[in-house]
Amino acid sequence: MATVELRDIRKTYSDEEIIKGVSLTIHDREFVVFVGPSGCGKSTLLRMIAGLEDISAGELLIDGVRANEKGPAERGLAMVFQSYALYPHMNVYRNMEFSLRLAGMPVAERRQRIADVARILQLEPYLDHKPGQLSGGQRQRVAIGRAIVRNPKVFLFDEPLSNLDAALRGQMRVELATLHRRLGATTIYVTHDQVEAMTMADRIVVLRKGVVEQIGTPLDLYHRPRNLFVAQFMGSPTMNVLPAHIVSVTDHAATVTTGPLTVTVPVDAGSLQPGAAVTLGVRPEHIGLDVAGAPQGLVEISERLGAATLLHVRLSDGRQIVVQTGGDNMNAPDSAVGVTPDPAHCHLFDADGAALDRLAAHPLQVGS
């Protein structure tokens, strides 16, 4: 059982505020991912929870008890660092034993615990090895093992996969998700990679410049981004964003036009009047190719990924959009195509970048 509660947490360096008031409740056994571009303060926030950075203002509660003044070791958390931070002169066994030894645990109990963890992480053959003799993935597992042996209330991960190559990253992602299912420990995970966030998180916290932009389940963020920043940050390839203006408004939809495209989007337009400037957002996977209609643009580049093809289409008004089509799409560069965004999956943002409420709920969407 472990919950973490942040109450208006702030961090100030000299006179610059890095974290501008973050409030968040992390439930027991939850896997929460902090995601955002570099410099958004996600690592600082994690280090404040860990106790490695002081909290300038606000309150941190672990299991309902104020932990602001507790040292890193007393908080009962364990952290996996980006550089793994293994102790290079100790072998794998000693690395995992270090915290237990400092805590004064009897040798027999230590050995038992490390053996258990080594079995879970398949580290048994490497217990005598020094970190320098291990591969990146193995070191990563040792770092995780060092966190697990302490039996912490909460696991903290600081971009743990960013030093691994793409294939290994995919594999470790699955291993981490499996491990979380198995241990059921509360986990806070920091990453700049939205794929890691989408695939592993129960809930995602999107940060920008020290401010929480949105908190929600992965699909919540994907289907109902609260603003333009979240919309563009989540999802790969990135959402197409086109400046548009409103043509007409009804109770349950707004019709907008941008260049050669006119779309009727099922949103609550609120106080917006026809003629108002808005931003139309539509993901590449939600744009279809219209074979019958008049061509609206030219294919500039086609990126063939095998399972899918990304067509970079130059619209007749000069704007470029990305369309995701099937892997067997035959359109070559310079061929003329018509594009039709799926109105149900279009997003509208007002002049400030805030999303207009979408009226169609997605069937997979949970938690909102």
Partner: protein, 305 residues
């Protein structure tokens, strides 16, 4: 044929160096190698030669082979044993002080505090003072029983000043030489500490390690390689400490502060016994090589790990 000959230099660097190329390279290297050989082999040969000769600068009638008698005379001389012991105390004492204090100060100077840049320059600066000058500074400015700073301080609190250099000659020398070499140790160890990954210290903090445990389990093992290097380099120089002794105590009182280097000097240029001094030189070479062999093995093992 002319063309074929011209092509060879282009093709040659790709494969293995040809025999002709290697010979050419050796030929070009030879002036430097031969010069270095002469530089080190000739003095060695002459020392060996003189060490078996009767050769006294004040008595030209003493000539001819001495056989082993120079060595016998030296090795049975109680002064030689004293000098050997003094050398060991000097080297060992300075090593303990500089490495021990150097490690602690390096950790201290790694912390951020006001005026750290200036403090770092100050702590390094004794290294730039040449040995004779620093020995004179200590002898006359700091430790002089009448107008030295220490004597003034002792008198100020009602104590009788101590004539350091005649009462505790060797301990004073250890202190002076330590003062000269401490900056070197700090410099090497500080740079080594700065290369320690900050995340490792943070991981140790998360694991519950306090400052002492961090020092014992993280910082000290990280420094072990640098410490070996400091010990090796300092030992090489400390075996040959001469200027400080010559300036302050001239080996005395008696032979209380005479080390091997100074003993050889006094044999040759104070007692004018070149043969005996050469025998001492040969013994010094043997000792230096034994020490070097041990140190190099220790360093090699440490660098491997």
């Amino acid at each position: 044929m002319d063309q074929a000959a011209r092509r060879i230099p282009v093709a040659a660097p790709v494969g293995r160096p040809s025999h002709a190329r290697r010979t050419g390279g050796a030929l070009l290297l030879s002036p430097a190698v031969i010069l270095l050989l002469i530089w080190s082999l000739v003095p060695l040969a002459m020392t060996l030669w003189y060490s078996v000769r009767r050769y006294n600068l004040v008595d030209p009638t003493q000539v001819g082979f001495a056989g082993a008698s120079n060595y016998v005379y030296l090795l049975t001389d109680p002064d030689f044993i004293t000098a050997l012991l003094n050398t060991a105390i000097l080297v060992g004492g300075v090593l303990v002080i500089t490495v021990g204090l150097g490690t602690l100060l390096a950790v201290l100077f790694d912390q951020s505090f006001l005026g750290r840049g200036i403090a770092r320059v100050l702590v390094i600066s004794p290294f730039f003072v040449m040995p004779t000058v620093s020995a004179l500074l200590w002898k006359n400015l700091m430790l002089h029983p009448i107008y030295g700073v220490y004597s003034a301080m002792m008198r100020a609190v009602g104590l009788t000043p101590v004539d350091w250099l005649s009462r505790y000659p060797l301990a004073t020398l250890v202190m002076i030489v330590s003062w000269e070499w401490l900056p070197f140790a700090i410099l090497i160890l500080l740079t080594a500490i700065q290369s320690l990954d900050a995340e490792q210290k943070e991981a140790a903090r998360m694991d519950g390690a306090g400052p002492l445990a961090q020092f014992r389990y993280i910082i000290l093992p990280h420094l072990s390689r640098a410490i070996t290097v400091v010990i090796m380099i300092e030992t090489i120089f400390l075996l040959a400490v001469f200027a400080e002794i010559s300036v302050t105590t001239a080996g005395g009182p008696g032979v209380a502060s005479t080390n091997l280097a100074f003993l050889i000097y006094s044999r040759a240029l104070l007692q004018f016994d070149v043969g005996g001094a050469s025998a001492g030189g040969v013994v010094a070479i043997v000792i230096a090589n034994i020490v070097a062999a041990f140190l190099l093995r220790a360093v090699a093992r440490n660098l491997e790990a």
